[in-house]
Structure formats: structure tokens, C-alpha cells
Symmetry: C2
Subunit: 581 residues, 2 copies
């Protein structure tokens, strides 16, 4: 491509609407233009990058044996009602009525459509396993679309769905996709981590997120300093601490007139935050399904993990307790709550159904001489000890977020934090969809069985933004070679004032492309400063400058986008450097 025949439209101004660096740089580089909230037109420049990502994903999926098909963007309501997701999916589902008032949605994902396809197309175990994928536009009606391609409403996604006669086959394909995703992101030249993730409400058997590492990433990833363990904060296990120390203090009431947080109480008392316990009041259900008031306890310096909590018996649909419920059960107001149920605590006198359930995080269960709210406004209790001042907890469990420095759950090293952008997700779904939608195949014994399913997503357009978050500097984007709109820019200095520059640059440009290197010729006739600024902003990884002076010396000026200095190379050395010789 010759830039004189391309549409390049860079901007020096930083767009005010953009909050994150990838959004800013994609707008400045002219890769995309906003059409409406969360909707972007990909310019010729941006589309070149998007297509390179798309093709890398497609080639790796094909090599892994997956079969590409294509589902419509518009999906009928009826299928979503079969799985109950028409209601459950929430406000992100863009619902549409056609001229006959029939209802549809713009697909945010395609489990229903592919399961409908499968129940019509698949009848025998002989057709399994099979993995269907498509690369298609999706829509999620974000409440506050922002961050450009990172969280656009209309986005390009590769979604794959596999079908299996048994769990072993699913596990094998899950591993195949896990490995394939690793190949995709490696090939794209991105630093990434596969992170164990929670299987959540869907309840599948395994799940990993693929995170492109970037300081600006919105997801926290905990990884071990001593192994390849990595998990997101929802899943990462906080291991049990050592045994509980013996009680050393007597329980005493402490005057804390305005101190409602552990931080404030610790400061007032002059003790470490780690000595305090936070009591979080929840409403769950007991074994009979009746409402049950729950106090969840975590150390003052820890945070409750909602995903872990929701996995506990009786807490699948928990909610925070209201102030009225707190008063009813503890006789106190928030800020002074605690598990020592004497005095102000009313509920122990109630019916057995009304008993308060105490759930202690593993760290809290191991504490001695700790500080909790007194269930009385203006007071806390210090020197509290399990078994002496209050009964042992009803349940000890891992209910907190891990923090940096925690031991790694695999026993090797400690946990450190990285930040990442989720660009892929593999998920062993199990039979949720095949059962809900009556999708069956005959197994080898002629018996109808619901196939086990896996689903595997890659955010194709999101990868573009994630790559920029990871790879940029003050001058602009720095593309990995595999994603660059062009790998090499051949820049002509003073082409009009010709002294062989045009001919030499054209020849080099043609030679590179003939060698399979995607090169662009900057023949726009700009001054060097403006030309170089553009080429750096749009992130071309390799720049070659052809000038009269260089030609006289028999050399080309070569500079990698990350290099601080340019080098003068003769033709053979240049071609070798660019992999064209």
C-alpha cells in the first residue's frame, strides 16, 4: 500500500472523551471514529489491525479442528425463553421488535442459537465431538459505554461451542482450546496469563480467563511468584493460616463514640488493623429455606469476596441486610456490629429459625484477642476470643479476597498482583444448555443423552485495544509485528527533489512485499518530522528511511519502534534485519 493512495487521518489533539490510553491512541491514530455511544466505525487503518487479529484467531481455530459457521446477529426471543435468559440476562440484552411485533435480541452471545442448531444437526455420537465457532458482531447494551473498543456496545467476538458425548471428551477439547488460546496470544505477540476463573452461576466444571497484561487493566490477577499458578480475585484461594494463638487478654468494652470502621477503631486504639474484625450483615436462607440473618466476618484489612460467599450453603441468592433487619437481630446500628451476642443482641432469644449464623473467614477463625463491634452504638469489644467470649463460628470458610503477599494456594511462593484485560475465556459448560433445550444425541448404546458442552470466547475487537494498553509510549502505539497495520514503513525523504530516492524506496517497498513482509510506502511527500510522527503514532514497528544522503553512503536508516537510536544499514543487512533475506 502507498500512503498517498490510502486514507490516513491522524490527529495531534487528544480527544477529551477518551479516558484510557488505547481509546485515546485509537482516535488520535484515526483507527476508528465514534458513530454513537459505544458504536465505532473502523477506518481503513483500524480495520487492517482488526483483520489481522481476526485472521490469526481463525487460523488457529481451524488448525485446532474447530469448524467455522456463521450465526445471524439477530436472535429470536423464543430460544432465549427456553433457557430462561430472556429475563435473566438483564439490561445488556438489546431487545428488538420487528414490524410484526415479533421479539428478537441482538445476540450478545450464542449458546441458545448454537444449541438449537445442534439439536437439529446432531443426532449421533458419531458426529461428536464437534466444535463450531463463528466470528461475528455482538451487542451488549452497556449502561455507560466508554473506553472505546475496550467496552464498545457492538463488538467483534469469536465464540466457539463444543459438543461431547461424555465429560472426558469435553475435558480433552477444553484443554485443546486452552492450548489454542495460548497459541493465538503468543502468535499475536502479547504478554498474557491464563487465569483460573470462577464458574459462577452457570456451574460448569472449569473456566479460565485469558488476560492480556497491562498496568491499566481493569481486572486484578493474582499469580504466584514461585509457580505458574494464576487466578482472578473471585477465585484465588486464601489458604488457611497457622493455628490460633492462645487468649492473652480479657474481653473489655472500648469507648468508640464515632469510630464506625475498623480503620478508625484501630487508629483510636493504636493497634494494627489486622487485630480488628469486620462484621458484614447478610440475609440468606437456612436449611429449610427460611430467611436467615448472617454475620460474615473478615479481618479488618481484608475484603469480603462476594463470589466465594455465594457458593456457601444458604447464600446462593444472599443480599445485604437492611438497617431494620440489623436492628431486629442485633439491636444495633451499622458500624458497631459484632458476633458477641450478649446484651444488645436480641435474636438469640427468638425462635430457632431466627438464630444468627456466624461465618468466619479462615483468618478470623485463627485470631485471638481481637476487636469487634459491641452491638451497641459507640462501643467495640477488645480482647475477644473464640470459645471463651463467644461460641466457635457456625462455619469457617474462605470468604475473602486474597491480597498481595498471601501464600500461593499451591504452596509455592506468594501471591503477587498483575493487572490485565480479559480477552478470552474458556468454559466447560456441562449440560445446562443441552438439558434446558432438549438437545440429545444417541450414544454408542443407542441411548439418548444430553451432550456436554464447552464454550470458548475471544474478544477480537477488544484485543486491539488491549494490545495498545500493553504496548505504547508517549509517541503512540507500538504494535507487535503480527498485529501491525503494516510491519515496515518505507519513508521517502524529499521524494520530489529526486535524486534516486523515489526509485530506491519503491524498489525496497516492492522487494519487501514480494518477500511476504507487509510494507507500506510513505510517499505523501510530508516533511520528515510530520511523517515520522504519523508513523510512530500509528505504531509501525519497523521504519526505514530512504534519503539522498543515505543513498550516497549506500545505506538505509533503520529504526525499531522501541529502539532509542536509528542505525544505518546497507541493503543486505537491512533485508536480513527485516527477515526478508
Amino acid at each position: 500500500m502507498r500512503l498517498s493512495q490510502f486514507h490516513l487521518h491522524t490527529s495531534k489533539e487528544t480527544p477529551a472523551e477518551a479516558e484510557i490510553v488505547s481509546h485515546k491512541l485509537m482516535l488520535k491514530a484515526g483507527m476508528m471514529r465514534k458513530l454513537a455511544a459505544g458504536l465505532y466505525t473502523w477506518s481503513p487503518l483500524g480495520l487492517r489491525v482488526l483483520r489481522k487479529v481476526e485472521n490469526a484467531v481463525r487460523e488457529e481455530m481451524n488448525a485446532a479442528g474447530a469448524l467455522e459457521l456463521l450465526m445471524p446477529t439477530i436472535q429470536p426471543k423464543e430460544l432465549w425463553e427456553e433457557t430462561g435468559r430472556w429475563q435473566k440476562f438483564g439490561g445488556q440484552l438489546l431487545k428488538i421488535k420487528d414490524r410484526k411485533e415479533a421479539e428478537y435480541c441482538y445476540g450478545p452471545t450464542a449458546e441458545e442459537v448454537i444449541t438449537d442448531f445442534a439439536r437439529n444437526e446432531l443426532s449421533s455420537y458419531k458426529q461428536l465431538p464437534v466444535n463450531f465457532y463463528n466470528i461475528q458482531w455482538k451487542f451488549r447494551d452497556e449502561i455507560r459505554p466508554r473506553f472505546g473498543a475496550m467496552r464498545a456496545r457492538e463488538f467483534l467476538m469469536k465464540d466457539a461451542y463444543s459438543f461431547h458425548v461424555d465429560d472426558e471428551s469435553l475435558a480433552a477439547e477444553y484443554q485443546n482450546m486452552y492450548d489454542t488460546y495460548g497459541r493465538v496470544f503468543t502468535r499475536l505477540g502479547l504478554k498474557f496469563r491464563a487465569v483460573a476463573a470462577d464458574t459462577g452461576a452457570i456451574g460448569g466444571s472449569a473456566s479460565h480467563e485469558f488476560q492480556v497484561l497491562a498496568d491499566s487493566g481493569e481486572d486484578a490477577i493474582f499469580f504466584s511468584t514461585g509457580s505458574d499458578y494464576a487466578a482472578n480475585v473471585e477465585l484465588a484461594e486464601a489458604v488457611a493460616p497457622g493455628p490460633r494463638a492462645a487468649a492473652g487478654e480479657a474481653m473489655r468494652k472500648v469507648d468508640t463514640p464515632t469510630q464506625k470502621t475498623c480503620e478508625d477503631v484501630a487508629a483510636l486504639m493504636g493497634i494494627p488493623l489486622q487485630r480488628t474484625v469486620k462484621s458484614v450483615a447478610l440475609m440468606g436462607v437456612d436449611g429449610d429455606g427460611a430467611p436467615q440473618f448472617v454475620l460474615a466476618l473478615v479481618r479488618g484489612d481484608h475484603a469480603v469476596n462476594e463470589v466465594k460467599l455465594a457458593k456457601l450453603a444458604g447464600l446462593a441468592d444472599y443480599r445485604m441486610a437492611s438497617e431494620g433487619e440489623i436492628d431486629t437481630h442485633l439491636g444495633s446500628e451499622p458500624g458497631f456490629l459484632g458476633p458477641v451476642l450478649v446484651g444488645g443482641a436480641k435474636s438469640t432469644a427468638g425462635s430457632p429459625k431466627q438464630a444468627i449464623r456466624i461465618i468466619a473467614d479462615r483468618s478470623v477463625a485463627a485470631m485471638a484477642d481481637f476487636v469487634v463491634g459491641a452491638n451497641e452504638k459507640g462501643f467495640h469489644l477488645a480482647g475477644v476470643n473464640w470459645g471463651r467470649d463467644l461460641p466457635e463460628p457456625d462455619l469457617v470458610a474462605d470468604i475473602r479476597n486474597v491480597v498481595e503477599g498471601d501464600p500461593s494456594p499451591d504452596g509455592q511462593g506468594t501471591l503477587a498482583i498483575a493487572r490485565g484485560v480479559e480477552v478470552g475465556h474458556v468454559f466447560a459448560l456441562g449440560r445446562k444448555y443441552s438439558e434446558a433445550m432438549q438437545c440429545t444425541v444417541l450414544d454408542a448404546n443407542g441411548k439418548a443423552v444430553h451432550p456436554a458442552m464447552g464454550c470458548y470466547g475471544i474478544g477480537v475487537s477488544r484485543i486491539v485495544a488491549a494490545a495498545i494498553e500493553q504496548n505504547h509510549d508517549d509517541n503512540g502505539i507500538i504494535w507487535p509485528d503480527a498485529m501491525a497495520p503494516w510491519q515496515v514503513a518505507v519513508c521517502m525523504i524529499n521524494p520530489k527533489n529526486d535524486a534516486g530516492v523515489t526509485a530506491a524506496a519503491e524498489a525496497l517497498y516492492r522487494e519487501l512485499n514480494a518477500a511476504g513482509i507487509d510494507a507500506v510506502l510513505d510517499d505523501r511527500g510530508l516533511r520528515p518530522g510530520a511523517m515520522f510522527a504519523d508513523i510512530e503514532l500509528i505504531g509501525i514497528p519497523h521504519r526505514v528511511v530512504v534519503s539522498e544522503r543515505g543513498l550516497a553512503a549506500g545505506s538505509f536508516e533503520y529504526r525499531h519502534r522501541r529502539a532509542s537510536e536509528a542505525e544505518n544499514l546497507d541493503r543486505a543487512a537491512l533485508l536480513a534485519r527485516l527477515g526478508a533475506a
Copy 2:
């Protein structure tokens, strides 16, 4: 690809829902599956074909210098209001509200979006001419979606839009796209015609439809037997006939008690239909914009052309007259109307504004001794002659559809009819959108001008169906090589009962693919009859059978999909035949 690792799902049954052959065969071959009315999932087989078409279109567009970008499928209402099309586009526009009640549509075309892009991205004539295209899913909410991929609601379209500082540049790009479209359809191996088309209400300066010829096509194309003239029925000109003959009969009243059509009157009178004249009552406006009653006259064997009528002064927004209006102006009821305004015709006595306007088709103006309605129930007039029995027409114009056998408007040969499926359209739009949306660029003199625009569409998914309409037989589809899911099928006979068949077939399969020929290996182990039926149904153009007997004789059985007989070829001859040697 090995078919054992593919998902092929053919059916022997002809689906009841399908009315046209391409729809039937795409379902039988398992190329697609219906998801909902007008929505189809493209199976792995169907997608292979769709992608081949898409890539051919892309490569030719790129070679023509057009720049690919990508616009979202969802478009904001505000842009459509700028051009007035939010109301005017009609029921095919799928309107959508998001969670914030903001309004959007699923783009059926993208003039508004690209003009918005252009007014932001283009500022100088130096950036012109430029031709932006995208290959993106579109949606038209058809009242009665049917015919499968031929008229799906969600369909894949290549739409291109060019911008020019002057009309000459637009004309040059129009020609460039016209030529490019010819290359696309030639490359795809389709028989097609470029057909001059009406520019319609948009009022551009030129328009051609590209029609894939097929007996089942819904569009009639008139082409010259003596030149390359071709036009659709809306546009094809009916040339003026020879001079009017002299009157030979006296005007007389004929008793036609129940004969309300020209056919019935001609039959009753025993005269050729060509001697009768049909009077069509319309309401238009006069030169002052006041309502005007119009009689449009065409020969009894001709049909009025509504597009041609609407181009005449006063008829841009014409409508059919009501029975009340007909009675008011002619004092008659439909079935007996005519242009001889005596007796029952009231209107000549009215105000000048109420004068009836008589518009005669060129053929009618040249008639003598013709038959018309008498404006009296149960009667017609015969032996009617212009100038003697009624004044000369107010206007003589071409207002009829051409018919087979008419002289070609270019004076060479006569017109014949072909039927076609419209798969492409090039259109010189002019400044309609750039003016409506205030898109301007500075010209060489520094003056802001509205760029002239062209738009150029290709129905990518429709081409798949059109190709089948043109290329099929009782056994299934017959793909042109360039569109086939695979060009060659290598079929193994009794691969399990192996006598070198598997090895020979695998070697051939690999050799063909290495030579750049897209070959598939049918290693499913089916019996020959079932295997061949599948391969014929899905339309693979070249079939090679590898059998124990053939190998013993040193030959492969080769058959082209259109050939009546197979041939036995040795390896070298086979490779030469397939273009792999």
C-alpha cells in the same frame, strides 16, 4: 479438509417451506438452517461458499483502489433524520430502542453513516477521489421473508461509497466500479448482464443493475438481439413507431354490455387486441399545482409503465383516480373509459383547471381506427381517429413497458427478454446526501463544495443463491469453480477394505492442495451411491474416484459435475485436467 472431520449434513427430503430451487438446494445440501423468519445460520459448508464470494469481491475492490473500512450494523436515528429517510424508508427499516430509549436502526444501507464519516474525515480536494467500502451484515425487515438467502432479512452486502470534487471524477469512478463489477462476476464464473436502470426518485445521473441470468429470476431484463444494449423494464425505451395511418373507418358506438377489458372487447368484436386502447385514469397536478384528472392511453396489448409515467410533468406523485373522481370527470364507471370527451364526459364543461389531460403512449398516438371506451356503461367506440373524433393528445410520450420483439432503442436488432437476479447495483448519486448532511470539502480554489457521490452495492449472500438458480440440475447444485466449497472431491471406494486406496487417495488429496487446488477428501466410508449423491448435491465441480480396480489399471475415475460420463485418466492426465500439473 477431510469430510470425516467436517460437519456435512445433507437431506434427501425437499423442505416444504422452500419455494425456489436455490432455497431448496441450500437446505437439502445443509448449507444453511433457518433460525427464524428470514434469518439463517450458515453451516460450515455454506460459509465456505459465502467466504469465497466475499473474498473475490474484496480482492477486486482492493485492486480497483477502493479502501475497506467497517461500519457498525447499528446506526443512530439522528443521521437518518438529517436526510429525512427515518420516515421515508418505510417498514423495511428495523427500528430499535436501547435501554435509554435512544433510537437506532439496523442499517439496511449506509449512505448516512458514510457521509457522516466523510464530513468528519474529509476536508480537502487533495483527499479525493476516495472510495470507501465495507462488507457488513445488513437488515431489511421484509413483510414476507422467503426464498432463503435470496431475500433474507439479515444479509451480507458489500456497499461502497465514493466522494468526488466534480462530476467528471464521479463519472470516472462509476466506470471503474462498472468494470470492477464485471470482473467480479466473470471471476465468479456467472453469466450476467449489466442492465441500464432507472435512477428513480434519488435522481442521480446513471445507474446500472448487475443481473445474474436465471430462468427463475424475478427481474425481467430486455436486451438487444443485435447489440449489447440491456435495460430493465422500468427503463427500457419503447421507440416511436412509424407514422400514423390515415383514417379508414367512421366512428361508431359498439354494444359491449359486459366487456370491460380490451381483451374481452377485442374478442367480442373479432379484432386484434392491438386495435384497442386502454384508458387509465390518474390524478396528477397541473402547471399551477392544482389537482388534474389524467387519462393515460396505452395499446390494449401493452402495459403502463409507472416509472416512466412518474417522470412526466405533473405526475411525480400521481395516484390512481377513485371511482368517484372518474364519475365526476367522465360520467362513467371503470371498464368503459375513453378519451373521446362527448356525451357522458362532464369535465369539459367544468372550469379550465378541471380540464382532462390526455397522455397517449407513442404507439397509441400512431394508431388509426382504434377502439376505446365510450364513457357510457355497456358501450365502446370503434373506428376512432385522432384529430377527427377527438383532439390530438395533450402529450405523446413513452409510457409503456417494452415487450419482446420491440425494436431495440439503439436501432440495432430487436428486444428479447431474459430473467435475472439482481446481485449488484452501481449508482451515480450526485450530491443528495452531501448536501442534506452538510458534507463539504475545499476545492482547489479554497471554496467549500459538496462532493459528488457514487454508491455501489453487491449482495454477497444473495450471489450464493443466484449462482444456484443459474447452475443446478436434478441432482443438486453445480458450482462454478471459484465459488465451490471445494473444487475437487477425492472419493475413496471401500477405504476400510484397503488395497492401497487410502494411501493413493490421501496422496492425491495432499498433492492437489499443495498445488493450490481446494480439494476435499471423502473419507467417511460411505457406500459409493450415498457418497456420490452427497458430492453431487453439494455441487463439487470435479469428482475423482479412487478405487481398488482403478488403481490396478493405473487410473482414476474423473467426472466433471456437468459431464454425462466419467473418464478414466492416469495420474498425469488427471493432474493436467485439474490444472495441478
